[in-house]
Amino acid sequence: MGRITLDKVTKSFGATEVIPPLDLTIEDGEFAVFVGPSGCGKSTLLRLIAGLEDVTSGTIRIDGEDATMVPPAKRGLAMVFQSYALYPHMSVRKNIAFPLRMAKMAQDEIDRRVQGAASVLNLTDYLDRRPGQLSGGQRQRVAIGRAIVREPAAFLFDEPLSNLDAALRVGMRLEISELHKRLATTMIYVTHDQVEAMTMADKIVVLRAGHIEQVGSPLELYREPRNLFVAGFIGSPKMNFIEGAEAAKHGAHTIGIRPEHIAVSESEGAWSGRVGVSEHLGSDTFFHIHDTGLAETITVRADGEVGFRHGDRIHLTPRDDVVHKFDAKGLRIA
């Protein structure tokens, strides 16, 4: 069981308030991702839940019980750190067994659980190695192994994939998602990468400067971003924002249109512009269009086979049904 509730939680370092009063509930079994730019307080929030930092005020409940003053060792949570934080002087086996040893578990039970975790994570052949002899991905697995053997109430992940190379990151992303499906344990995952957030989360919590900007499922955030910040942060390439007369036509201060919601044509369209840089990904091509009179650049996503050249004049047509409208304060207009 792992339902985590934050009630008016705040955190200040000296005079600086890092987390203004914040309420949040993470349901049992949910995969929640805290996402936001660096310095948004997402790691601090995770460390508050872990107990590695004290809250300045407010209450943290784990399964309904007040855990605010409970030391990290007693909260029943497991954490996977960005640097993996493996114990370099212990073998993989001892690393994974460490939390069980601390819990004074019987040796045969420890062995059984370590073997179990090792086979799930494909570490059986590496149990007697030291962390220093493992690759980045394997170390990551050991860190996860150390977390799962305890059967914690919830897993906390602090940017666990940021030290891996791109290919490995995609693989580990799938493994962690798979693990979540199998264990059905609450997971809280911190990242600055919106792709990780979109692909893994049941619930995304978008943070900026300690504030929660929006909470919702990936598609809710994609379809109905509550404000300009979320609209710009979720989705890749970034949403185009247009102000002025064109926005006024829609009765908004700013309108947003995603690159994948704009049709391109050589001959006709609502807007026109000059092709700048094109990024060819094979499956798709991103065109950066200048001189539209709407914004500095409009990014458009087109089929991979579309072949405009630098300097070509082309026409754009937005899909009217997916235009996002925002008022002068940057809030969504329903």
Binding site: G51, L52, E53, D54, P71
Partner: protein, 288 residues
């Protein structure tokens, strides 16, 4: 970055070290200050009452004071000059490519590990003795009259002994500093057309300046309080009575504790002046 619980644990864990050092510093210091304003002669009547600043004045005006200051300065400055100058040269030499570098390093460092009483006695007897010492043998070999080193050249002798002990320290630290010099800096200077001597003067020496300062200050603190080297060689005779030695004699040999304590206070003040500069350098390097 920590919790209240870990901060209070930290205070508890730090307490033994802090309390012990605080006691070690304050209790004797206060006692010394107390004795320094008393007429205190343990063998001749004990504590004979308040003396005001008499002890401080008597210590400064006694006939032994200025010679002790001169002796202290001579030894400290002499040893500093020798160790730093030869230390820089030796460090540069040891930094060059050569065969058996590790062994040479060991040979050079060895004297630092010799206890002061051993180096004092070995030098005094086996090298500087005017009859059987090795120096005397060498003089005889060249037909010169052997010198009574300890009597005629007491400062030379003691500076020699002390420098021999501290040269390894200076060399080792300066060598470490030289090795931490980014070789790309020197290569850049070479590309810019600076000849070797200029590179040494404009890049190596400025890079070493901090290490040299550290060597100077740390050695000063240790040299100001050298004791055993004098204790086993001249025992303060022939003008080699340093401040430390003078205070030691006042306190333990002639048992004039009041006077000796006043001298001790002077020594503490002197050491603190040096320490002040050392701490500033160390502090700059510390990002706690």
């Amino acid at each position: 970055m920590a919790t209240k619980a870990s901060r209070s644990a930290a205070r508890v864990m730090m307490a033994p070290a802090v309390i012990l050092l605080l006691g070690w510093m304050l209790v004797p210091l206060i006692m010394t200050l107390w004795f320094s304003v008393r007429t205190y002669l343990p063998l001749r009547g004990g504590d004979l009452g308040f003396a005001g600043i008499d002890n401080y004045i008597r210590f400064l005006t006694s006939s032994a004071f200025w010679p002790a200051v001169v002796a202290t300065l001579t030894i400290v400055v002499g040893a500093l000059l020798i160790t730093v100058v030869f230390g820089v040269l030796l460090a540069i030499l040891l930094d060059q490519p050569m065969w058996g570098q590790g062994i040479v390093r060991i040979l050079v460092i060895a004297p630092f590990f010799v206890m002061p009483t051993v180096s004092g006695l070995v030098w005094k007897n086996m090298f500087l003795d005017s009859v059987n010492g090795l120096f005397a043998h060498v003089f005889k070999f060249f037909g010169a009259t052997p010198v009574e080193w300890m009597i005629d050249k007491p400062f030379f002798s003691i500076i020699l002994i002390v420098s021999w002990q501290w040269l390894p320290f200076a060399t080792l630290i300066l060598l470490t500093a030289i090795q931490s010099l980014d070789s790309e800096q020197l290569e850049a200077a070479e590309m810019d057309g600076a000849p070797p001597l200029k590179r040494f003067w404009f890049i190596t020496i400025p890079h070493l300046s901090r290490a040299i300062t550290v060597v100077l200050l740390i050695e000063t603190i240790f040299l100001l309080s050298i004791f055993a080297e004098i204790f086993v060689t001249t025992a303060g005779a022939f003008g080699t009575k340093t401040l430390t030695y003078l205070i030691f004699q006042r306190v333990l040999e002639s048992q004039n504790v009041g006077l000796g304590s006043a001298g001790g206070v002077y020594a503490i003040i002197l050491a603190n002046i040096v320490a002040f500069f050392l701490m500033r350098i160390v502090g700059k390097n510390l990002d706690a």
